[in-house]
């Protein structure tokens, strides 16, 4: 349903925008109906930029992002509104996603004015309650409260409920549980997984590989704005082929294996993405970067 084809994004940085930062380079993948795809990468790998482009919070640099075959880059007015009925996003920090001055459920009211002006009071209330129950919240406990009276997990589920209210097809979840406690984290993750079983497509953006493995069917690994490996989660995680993926897998703190027992060697401190492509070798590697199929449903980047 969602497909990205050769998408790139260049930011102008530095004084007067003199320097260029290529945040996303030639990224292509798709999200099928009812499927969860994880976008995995470290800070500066461009994963959030991709999420924001899909949500049209950033303009698409080059390449095309299309949903059901229609490019989203040129959507305007009612077309864009229609698009937001299909695609919504939830972001990392639940506390800054809400306006602290208003009650948290005000956002449902805004939604009603925008999308359901004809709904009657009773119908609407029913709809809100249903979507709250759908994410495992008790409407009586969470409605008519200010954001500071709710916990991070509740707020995050509130935002998912808002997205579900629109009966969307695709949810872009950008690091939505990294700020939550371990005990509530899994509850929110289960809500997502249940919604997915109900037919929702999911783009799950994360740096946490174990969460990605838990929820997604396919995984896309990003490094410095490029896809280095992608395919079925099972295959990518069991048999990582690209050195970067291997390094990531080896650095994940696990409960069943100590770092010293893994044979990938010492962790290397990653270089920030501003330096990306600065050495001659890397520039050359970028030039030759192509994805090849290693086994059915498992692609890996090769340079040369």
């Amino acid at each position: 349903m969602l497909s990205l084809d050769g998408v790139s994004k260049v930011y102008n940085v530095g004084t007067f925008g003199g320097k260029q930062l290529r945040a996303v380079r030639d990224v292509s993948f798709d999200v099928r109906d009812g499927e969860a795809v994880s976008l995995i990468g470290e800070s500066g790998s461009g994963k959030t930029t991709i999420g924001k482009m899909i949500l049209r919070l950033l303009s698409v640099g080059s390449g095309t992002i299309s949903i059901d075959g229609v490019s989203i880059a040129t959507l305007r007015g009612s077309g864009l509104k229609e698009y937001y009925r299909k695609v919504q996003g939830v972001f990392q920090d639940p506390f800054s996603s809400f306006n602290p001055i208003f009650k948290a459920d005000r956002m449902f009211e805004v939604l009603r004015q925008e999308f359901y002006p004809e709904a009657s009071e009773k119908e609407w209330e029913e709809k809100v309650h249903e979507s709250l129950r759908c994410v495992g919240l008790n409407p009586e406990h969470v409605l008519h409260k200010f954001p500071h009276q709710l916990s991070g997990g509740q707020l995050q589920r509130f935002l998912i409920a808002r997205a579900c209210l629109l009966e969307i097809d695709l949810l872009v979840a950008d690091e939505i549980i990294s700020m939550l406690d371990a005990s509530t984290r899994i509850d929110v993750l289960n809500v997502l997984a249940d919604l997915k079983s109900g037919g929702l497509s999911l783009l799950f953006i994360t740096h946490d590989l174990s969460l990605a493995y838990y929820i997604s069917e396919r995984a896309v690994i990003l490094q410095r704005g490029r896809v280095v490996e992608m395919g079925l989660t099972e295959r990518v995680f069991r048999n990582p082929l690209h050195p970067y993926t291997r390094m990531l897998m080896a650095s994940v703190p696990r409960l069943d294996k100590r770092w010293e027992d893994t044979d990938y060697g010492a962790g290397e401190i990653g270089r920030p993405s501003e330096l990306a492509g600065s050495t001659a070798e890397e520039a050359l590697a970028d030039e030759r970067h192509t994805l090849t199929q290693a086994e059915p449903g498992h692609f890996v980047a090769t340079s040369g």
Partner: protein, 320 residues
Amino acid sequence: MSLTVENLRVYYQTLRGDVKALDGATFTLDDGEIMGLAGESGCGKTTLAHSLTRLSPPLRYVEGRVTLDGQELPIADMSRMNDFRMKKLSVIPQYAMNALNPTRKIGTIIRDLLRSRHVEADTSLQELYRRLDLVRLPYDILKRYPIELSGGMKQRMVMVVSTLLNPSLLIADEITSALDVATQKAVAEMLVEFRDRALVKSMIVITHDVSILYQLADSILIMYAGQLSEKASTQTIIRAPRHPYTKLLISSLPTIGVRHAEHKLSGIPGTTPLLLDPPAGCRFRDRCPVAFSKCSEVPPFVEVTDGHWVACWKESETHA
């Protein structure tokens, strides 16, 4: 025994009364031990770090004794603690990324700090270079401003500064939380190296991420709602936890190899109690699957087997 904490109570003063953020902590830390301290937000782990280093209002000292290397720490007295900070015990704060003064160069910050501790900066210069090598930072970092460093570099820089005078105890508060997996691993391994090279004698590593602790800690202390729940060796906490809270916490962690479709994990139902007026008895009682009548009394933190401390009536009864 490097550090001994006895019945430490520290409350936050608020207009609505005292928030009992740390309510009766008793534990010991051996020489050379790296102890992990884990728990949910608001369980009092950072309060514990603050009480050991800088107990300032709104924090209020209520009772308890802290002994470091046989010497009692005057933790309630801000100015007398100055003799101990950085020399005897040091902290890498949660906000390490913002801990460096943005208007001064790194080298100047270090010189000022050393002067405030009455240490001649030149004598420790060689040592400083050695430490920079250890955390793989270039020497010219001393001539740079904090804004020129990445998050991971600042974190490592603060590690160097905090440990420069070889403190006996180092408290690392959530230092890996904001980092990427690869940087996280590197920083965690550096912490262990600092201990192995005896730059610091013992360490308390505070985090909410239990899987990081499994990688680096010798023992783990689990806190819940201002009280200690369980302390044991890392292997025991992960493989054979006794306290119901620890059991639920460990089982709710997703690791690679667990998928929603095959094995659905579940969180811990309910929320942590408000510490302004905490429930009497065991504070985990309302969320506990095995709670019974006895739980209306506060369970003592007792040693059930050698080195394994648990605060739960179910456990202390069967082993009494």
